[in-house]
Symmetry: C2
Subunit: 205 residues, 2 copies
C-alpha cells in the first residue's frame, strides 16, 4: 500500500530513517510518528547523539577498534598480553569476543575480508599494519577469528602465506558443533569437520 | 550476549535509537555502526531531518491531520466534500484511507479511542471539536472508521449518542470477510457478522 505522507518534513525524516538497513518506509513512518510525539529537547538529544558520535568517535590507531581516544581501551590496558593478536573482520567481532571474557590478548581489525565477488581485495584491508606489528619479534601468536565461510578461509590462507616468514604460531578459532545444538540439526559440513577434528574427551570442560 | 561498547558516544547513539519501539540494542548497534561509516554531512542531514520535522510539522487546525501549514492539504482542497466527515483514530488511518482513492470527503482525527483499560476517556479525545463542526448544519454524513475491536465499538457508540440530536446520517465502515481471504481461515466472529450483514449480490463490483 503506497502511503501518501502529507508533510515534506515527515517525508524527509522517513526517507532518512528508512535509509538504514532493514528499515522499510512503513516501519520508518511508525517510528517517525512516535518521535513526533516527543518533546523538542528529546528530539534534540536524539539527533545530537549521531552528530556527536560522528564527531568524537575515533579509530584506535593501533588496532582499528572504535574508541573515544587515540588508543582503544583494550590496547591501552597494560593488563592485556601484547604478544597475542586476534585478527577480526569487524569491530562488532571484538565486542562479541570480549563478552566471552576468555581472551586477554589484543585485537587487530581488518575492516573486512577478502571477497572478490564484492570487489574487496587484500589492499582494501588493514593487512600491512598487521604485518608491521610482527616486525619487532614480540608477537608470539596470531589467532584468526574470521567468519567460518569461504571468504574467511580465503583471507586466513592469504594472511597465513604473508606471515609464514615471521615464524609465529598461527591459530584459528575451533570450528565444530555449536554448544547447545542437537546433533541431528547440525549441518553436514560442520558435523564432518567436527568429526575430523575430534578432540580428546575431558571431564568438566 | 551483553555487548560492551567501547565508546560512550556510540553507547548514547545506541540508547537513542533503541528508544524507538521495536528496535533492540543489538539492531541499534548495527544501525549506528552503519551510520558511523557515513560522511559528516550525511549524518548532519540525517539528524536535521528529525529536528526540522519537530519544528515545522503542525496539526491541521480543522481536522488534526499532520500538515506543513495551518490547514492540511485535504481540508484546504476545494474539491473535497465538506459535508462528509470520516472519523479516524490516528493520522496513519488517513494515509491508509487516502491510498484507497475512494473517499472524497474530509477527515476528523480523534487522537485515540475510548479505552478505560489504558485510561483514555472521551475527554482525552478531540470529540468536542467534531461536535462543533455539526452545529452549522452543513454536515450530512459522519463515517465511523475506527478499529474493529471493543474500544472502537465503544467509541462509535459514544459518538453515536452524542450525535443523535443533530439528525445526521451516521455510517460505519463495512465489516466482513477481507478480500482475498479463504473462508476457512476467517475468524468465526467476522464470519458470523458477515452472514448477518449479507448483501445483495452484484455483478462486477
Amino acid at each position: 500500500m503506497a502511503m501518501k505522507i502529507p508533510s515534506k518534513y515527515i517525508d524527509e525524516a522517513v526517507d532518512q530513517l528508512s535509509s538504514l538497513p532493514g528499515i522499510g518506509k512503513k516501519t520508518a513512518l511508525r517510528l517517525v510518528l512516535q518521535l513526533l510525539n516527543r518533546s523538542e529537547s528529546e528530539i534534540e538529544r536524539f539527533s545530537n547523539a549521531f552528530v556527536e558520535m560522528k564527531k568524537e568517535v575515533k579509530k584506535c590507531k593501533s588496532c582499528g577498534n572504535i574508541s573515544d581516544s587515540e588508543l582503544c581501551s583494550i590496547c591501552e590496558n597494560p593488563g592485556r598480553d601484547n604478544s597475542q593478536i586476534c585478527v577480526v573482520e569487524d569491530i562488532r567481532d571484538i565486542m562479541a569476543l570480549e563478552s566471552t571474557n576468555y581472551f586477554k590478548g589484543i585485537y587487530h581489525v581488518l575492516g573486512g575480508i577478502i571477497s572478490p565477488m564484492d570487489g574487496v581485495g587484500p589492499s582494501d584491508l588493514n593487512i600491512n599494519t598487521l604485518l608491521n606489528k610482527l616486525e619487532n619479534g614480540k608477537v608470539k601468536e596470531i589467532i584468526f577469528a574470521l567468519s567460518a565461510n569461504m571468504e574467511g578461509d580465503t583471507t586466513n590462507f592469504y594472511l597465513y602465506k604473508k606471515m609464514a616468514p615471521y615464524n609465529i604460531e598461527i591459530t584459528c578459532l575451533s570450528r565444530g558443533v555449536a554448544i547447545g545444538t542437537e546433533l541431528q540439526y547440525a549441518d553436514e559440513l560442520t558435523l564432518g569437520r567436527s568429526l575430523i577434528n575430534r578432540q580428546p574427551f575431558k571431564l568438566n570442560e
